[in-house]
């Protein structure tokens, strides 16, 4: 396997876990999928629609998100997602784990 391909695969694995945390962190106020996608992208976290939407569904099935269809400002119906109480508890835990992990990795990667 080419180095490039190896790097791509490992990056994919790395991002897979991180994306859930990123999504949870951005849903403290409700958003529909596309606005979330743009919000993440604006902050430098690029994500495919084909990754984001199934991920939102999975997080909802796990009880970490809530969603419902709504029409806001007379626009078309959109599905709005927001973090649930359980999601907030989980996110808080993940945040502290994340800082610990970053600290550890930074020491290792110097």
């Amino acid at each position: 396997m080419e180095n490039n391909e190896l790097v791509q695969n490992m990056l994919l694995e790395l991002r897979r876990g991180i994306l859930s945390v990123a999504v949870l962190s951005q849903l403290s106020h409700e958003q529909y999928g596309y606005s979330l996608l743009k919000g993440l992208s604006d902050q430098g976290m690029e994500i495919d629609q084909s990754t984001l939407y199934p991920l939102l569904r999975r997080l909802e099935a796990q009880g970490l998100l809530q969603s419902d269809w709504r029409i806001v400002d007379d626009a078309r119906p959109r599905r709005y997602y927001v973090i649930s109480a359980q999601g907030q508890a989980v996110l808080a835990q993940l945040k502290s784990e994340w800082s610990a992990l970053v600290g550890t990795m930074q020491k290792m990667l110097v």
């Binding site: 629609q49 084909s50 939407y53 078309r76 119906p77």
Partner: protein, 347 residues
Amino acid sequence: MNLLDKYIAEVGKHLPRKQRADIEAEIRSTLEDMLEERKQAEGAVLSESKVPENEALVIELLKEYGNPRKVAASYHPTPYLIGPRLFPIFVVVVQVVLSVLLGVIILTYGFSVVGGGLSRAEMLGALTGIPLRFLAGALSAFGNIVVVFAIMERLIPAGKLKELEDKWDPAQLAKAPDPDQIKFSEEIIEIFFTIAFLFIFNVYADKVGIYFFSGNQFTFVPILTAAFFTYLPWINILGLLQIGLNLVILRQGTWQIYTRVANLTLKLGTMLLALFMLTGPAILAITPGAAAGTPLGALSPDKVETLTGFVLIPFFIALFAANGVEVIQITYRLLNSHKPVRFEMQK
């Protein structure tokens, strides 16, 4: 129907039925959002009259959104025919069944040689046929095992097994095993063999018999009698109850008094049925017509009876022994299950 509708319908085709409408609606809402944003970016007027321009935009958008099949696939979890939890047991069962198959084929060849009447060339011909027969038998056995495991994969609940695996504690290695803890692999293997047994006698009953190589030709002598088939409904009921019980036990993870009583009843029922089958009209027989041309055809009726007894008696002895041991074990566990309570009361 415009291009967008067609695209969404195409994605929908590959989506799980239950979530289809909902996922389609969400994809539509996203695509329309994206389209609107692009139109505004291009300064285009949002009107339906500019169809050609819209179409070009839509095509570009859909290209970016991706192949409908791939989009739909992203909503599915990886499907398993036989998942990682059953796979190790699957491998063991395949190894056992294929070894038994090879043994049976070699034994059949041995019988044909001992039975006599074959020339040297015919023996050699039969011998070279062994790999081919094994290959054919192995393929069909493998296929059937896969079917049975694929069914089990879908029957056995996911959560419980993981819990069972996670409960493991190194301290248990030193201690005597907890008699109330079920053994995952034992239950799975029991389910497998019960399904296989039911499968053989319900689907392949006409192929149960003795096989001979006579020269290059291959003869088959059926041995199950009509009397056997009068017992088949009872065998099926017991088998299905057994599978049901195994599934309940797997779901619960430990033995309860009522599952033990149910198990005891089933084992006693099996022994009772076996007793009826053994003492009633013969369930195995070799009809002279079917056996003509094989070494069996020349046998006198009482020799035939000795031969069927030769097959039946060890089978029933094994069956009674296995069930008898289990009955004793279950009874022992049932009688002892209250011990800790009594012990505390004495204190």
